[in-house]
């Protein structure tokens, strides 16, 4: 809980720092504040947590783990923002504050115990992001991304609220425990309203995580937004959306599996297929990352399809692996866009000769995203596959295996360009902050891949 308070105060503090023109202090203060928040949140690790604030929130292990990972990822992303916002505008305090406000919303999203808190969390997060997507005011792509994101987001929020209302209508409660008790009373005779409510809620949340067929905004928004914000959206926001999704289903709707499993299977298959089909065709790194992020949602949905006690952990591992690797990819992308001005695959040619360090970290990231052993991505895929197979969803896994192969194809395009294609190019200048973040993320990816034990049974 103290993490939420720390982050909110930190955001306000940054606004004041901006007001008093202490621009140099913004980044260090934000980083230190977030680290404090991270430590505070980890200190609340407690297996017997009880709901707080009139049952509004529950800061259990699930919540601690997911707020921990989202804060951690935000630290990495903010560290990459060194000199990034300054290129857009001279008033940068707002950008930091907005990121932190959205993070506050995210903490709510992963620790809610009441549907109203879920809604508030999603809105706090989304409203900040609508602005962040459009911070490049003179860039048409950024404007378009912000508007699309806003309209689609508003649309999905409407659906979500409709769902919440219907669930309240059926069960008479916004409380996760209350809804669960209502369902458990007689799972076969719940009100038909509840089914409609669950459907709408699932649709609304699928929007937020970008699961097909509610993914249409994803590529356009990720591509149009400033890369740093895209990195934030495709990692922290996605993880949070997924955590909220999982929490809802694990807590309340588990007894009604037969109803929603077909829906989720359909979404998972579509996400895998669409994400890969569209990613193969892309010639630009950023678009490829955007499209392929849809397919990763498909894998993560496996944990919901085979719901049991360890689903949360599987999602946690997968999300952590995916996010850390994605941050590396976006870090390199930011450098490339800033110094080469292009992010086509050809602009990676010969990178290994000039920037061996960048090439190595990016290779590790791509291996992890493709799910190759000894990287964190493999452990994630392994856990997802074994989850799906433990409930004998064999064809789903075979389908996923085919898709993973396609994934190898486009992720390795980058590696081929960096290592096998020679081209005379200038060395990219890598600032210290980038070196730290990229190196650290690559180390984490390898460490989780080589020694995943402590994370594999965390929650």
């Amino acid at each position: 809980m103290s993490a939420l308070i720390t982050i909110t105060i930190l955001a306000l503090l940054l606004l004041y720092l901006g007001l008093f023109k202490a621009k140099k202090a913004l980044l260090p203060v934000a980083l230190i504040g977030l680290m404090v928040a991270l430590v505070l949140s980890l200190m609340e690790w407690d297996s017997n947590a009880a709901p707080i604030f009139s049952n509004m929130m529950l800061y259990d292990r699930f919540a601690v783990a997911f707020s921990g990972i989202t804060i951690f990822l935000t630290i990495l992303i903010i560290a990459l923002s060194k000199d990034y916002f300054e290129r857009i505008s001279s008033n940068v305090a707002e950008y930091y504050a907005l990121i932190l406000f959205s993070l506050a919303g995210i903490i709510l999203m992963v620790s809610y115990h009441n549907l109203s808190m879920l809604f508030i969390g999603i809105e706090i997060m989304s409203v900040s992001l609508y602005i962040l997507a459009g911070i490049k005011k003179r860039d048409f792509a950024s404007n378009e991304a912000a508007l699309k994101y806003f309209l689609m987001g508003a649309f999905s929020t409407g659906i979500l609220l409709f769902g919440v209302t219907l669930i309240y209508g059926a069960s008479g409660s916004f409380d996760l425990e209350g809804i669960k008790q209502y369902i458990l009373k007689d799972p076969t005779a719940v009100s038909p309203l509840l089914y409609t409510g669950i459907t709408l809620l699932i649709v609304g949340l699928s929007f937020k995580v970008g699961a097909a067929p509610f993914h249409f905004w994803v590529p356009d928004v990720y591509e149009g937004s400033p890369s740093l914000i895209s990195a934030y959206m495709s990692t922290v926001v996605k993880v949070a959306g997924f955590a909220a999704f999982l929490r809802l289903i694990m807590f309340s709707f588990a007894p009604l599996q037969d109803f929603w499993i077909p829906m989720i299977i359909g979404m998972s298959v579509l996400s895998l297929l669409i994400g890969n089909v569209t990613a193969v065709y892309q010639q630009h790194f950023k678009r490829m990352l955007a499209y392929s992020s849809i397919s990763h949602v498909g894998y993560m949905l496996f944990a919901i399809i085979a719901l049991n006690g360890s689903s949360d952990n599987a999602v946690f591992v997968y999300a952590a692996a995916y996010s850390v690797a994605t941050i590396i990819a976006f870090g390199v992308l930011i450098l490339l866009q800033g110094q080469v001005g292009n992010d086509s695959f050809d602009s990676f040619n010969g990178l290994a000769r000039k920037n061996p360090f960048l090439a190595l970290t990016l290779t590790i990231a791509m291996l992890s995203l493709a799910g190759i052993p000894l990287t964190a991505g493999f452990i994630g895929k392994f856990m997802m596959f074994s989850k799906a197979l433990s409930s004998y969803h064999i064809f789903l896994v075979v389908f996923a295996a085919l898709n993973a192969m396609i994934g190898i194809f486009y992720y390795f395009k980058v590696i081929v360009a960096m290592y096998f294609k020679e081209e005379d190019r200038k060395e990219l200048i890598v600032p210290v902050y980038f070196k730290l973040v990229l190196g650290f993320s690559a180390l984490v990816t390898i460490a989780l891949g080589v020694y995943p034990d402590f994370i594999a049974s965390l929650i």
């Binding site: 005011k137 699309k148 309209l151 689609m152 649309f155 209508g169 008479g172 009100s191 038909p192 309203l193 089914y195 409609t196 459907t199 709408l200 649709v203 067929p213 509610f214 249409f216 905004w217 590529p219 109803f259 077909p262 669409i274 089909v277 569209t278 193969v280 190595l360 291996l367 493709a370 190759i372 052993p373 000894l374 493999f378 392994f382 856990m383 596959f385 074994s386 197979l389 004998y392 064999i394 896994v397 075979v398 996923a400 295996a401 085919l402 993973a404 192969m405 190898i408 194809f409 395009k413 081929v416 290592y419 096998f420 294609k421 020679e422 020694y451 995943p452 034990d453 594999a456 049974s457």
Partner: protein, 769 residues
Amino acid sequence: MLFTVLSGLITSGLFIPFGKYFRTKWGAVIAILPILLFCYLLQFIPVISTGITLYESYEWVPSLHINFDLRLDGLSLLFSLLITGIGSLIFIYASSYLKGHSYLDRFYGYLCLFMASMLGIVLSDNIILLFVFWELTSISSFFLIGFNNDHADSRKSAITALSVTGLGGFFLLAGLILMGSIAGTYSIGQLIESASIIKNHELYPIVLGLVFIGAFTKSAQFPFHFWLPDAMKAPTPVSAYLHSATMVKAGIFLLARFTPILGGTSAWSYTLMIVGGFTMIYAALHSLFRTDLKAVLAYSTISALGILTFLIGIGTQEALIAAITFTVVHALYKATLFLTTGIIDHETETRDLSKLSGLRKVLFPVFIAGTLAALSSAGMPLLFGFISKDLIYEATLHSEQHLALYLTIAAVLTNVCLVAAGFMAGIKPFLGNLPQQYEKVHLPDQSMWIPPLILALLGLAFGLFPAVAGYFIVSPAVTSMSAETVNAHLQVWHGFNTVLLLSLVTLALGSILFLYNKPDSRKLTLLVPLNKVSPQNITKKLFKKFVNFSAWYTNIMHNGFLRSYLLKIIIFAEALLAYELFIGGSIYIDYTQLSPISIYEAVNVLILIAAVGLTVTTSSRLTAVVGTSAIGYAICLMFVYYSAPDLAMTQFTIDTLTVVLFVFVLFNLPSFINQANNKIIIRDSIVAITFGTLLSIIAIKVLQVPTDITISEFYGQFAYTLAKGKNVVNVILVDFRGLDTMFEIVVLSIAALGVYSLIRLKLKSSEKD
């Protein structure tokens, strides 16, 4: 054993910081690693040959049941000796072959990684651990194939190889996890114990299929074989090591390892016999048409892998002995042939068989090595190849009665072709007259020609004393594949029998074929018509189709128009809601509970419908805005009729405000162009009407549910008694939830302040954007 696996991994990791010191001639120093490992493994031979299996276990990821369990039995010892033994020679050979290459350190790094992963595969006692190393071999092979990276071809073949083996890898992973969840363990030892459970499980065929795809892709079995000839773009030492002697045998190793777990059923035997049998004949025939030395070797390697699969499929004890013996024989002679090819390529800069001749005069020791290897491959008596050929024929002859004849014919046919292919690769370049342009060719460094000679002489040594190999290597390996202890008596002389006759016929026919089959690039054109149906071509076409489809799909579905996205999403939402309503049970309307419809309501609804009609048909924006406001006011009236004045007031205010705002921006909008044609209008109206209908049905459903009115009852009951107010809604707002209202007012005031300051804000001209 842990050290055996990890040393290579650690060494390859150390190349990242310290690689630059090994780019020079010091590179050869690194060969000490495989040599040491080879010597270390040699000392286990006496222990293992008594039938003992050594285990080592370290905790790794206990929560996922993946532990660093290692086992050393006959099978793993045989393979690890091959890996480290041939590896040592390859390391030495490569130091001369790639002398002066600017990335020599990277090459050794990949090679160490590969060797360690390969050792990991054969020593694992945990199938997931095995898989981890399995994938690592694919990755290191990817980097090694792409090592000669200045050609687009070699990049393409690297990624083809990785895609094919990667696909197989993921299928294998699925199969292994499934097998693990059926048996409840990932340990190979325990899996063997629960073999009957797995074999009788209803999912056994699926497990088998998934594991087979993994093994077939790795071991280049038809129809996945096409990546292997492509992979020959790699430097020759790599081809010799990975794509002939070791990595491609990982699939064979997997089949051998799983023989006691999955083997023995008819599904197992027939699939392997058919796939292996077809591959061996298909590839053997293909090898005859090639003129590139490495292509000949590639196809004969595929054929040899087919033979191994085929033998494991037959599955009798004789067949397994033959398979193990042939593995060793093949590794020895094929690596030799690759290395001699490498020398020829290195010195003459061509691998075209129609140009090469007479090289014995300048490369004599290489000629000896090549000839010995070719003869071994042909099954000449007194060489190791002879023994294995005998064993193969024995295995086919003694297989099931009704199959024996066909299997034997297939084996003879394959071997005849392989004899010719072997002669072509090992002897042909050295025969005949030396062309003028090659007269200056000279023998390379010793470190290049000694390794193939050692391998070739080993083939001779084992051929002379086969019993040694039989007792120390083959028997323990076969024992670990079967339930009981096996003693393989390998001997040179079996007496005059059918097998000997077959061997001699094969040798004779093969030699005749060699003499008449002159290398000629025109032969390849004969195969062109067949290319259309070759798996490689089909895969290429499929992939092209897939990319085209992907382009088409992306352009259609992700066209960037928000309206088209919304349309698609609404259609999907409709589908979901329809599904939900469909399984949600029947819908009925209880008319008795509804109040009668008055004339005011009827008129109001008519106005509403008219307004909707106006809004969707008008071509003027202003009219549409007015139309929507009319809809809004009609709904207000509805609220009024059903005595909800507060709601009506709210709706009324909001609607007015919306219209006003709309009129404000109306002037700034671009002029209205109606781009919709009839088709689009019909499509949109269908989608819209369906959505409306579905939501109406949901609304009707809401009516069916008895409402929980405890809360409204509470307020109704206490509004007057506690708060002395007669309007319940007002009491709720200002009394029961007074604090909420207060904060709402605060929020509104802050927003108003913000608006005010924005209006007052005078931007500097520089900031106006």
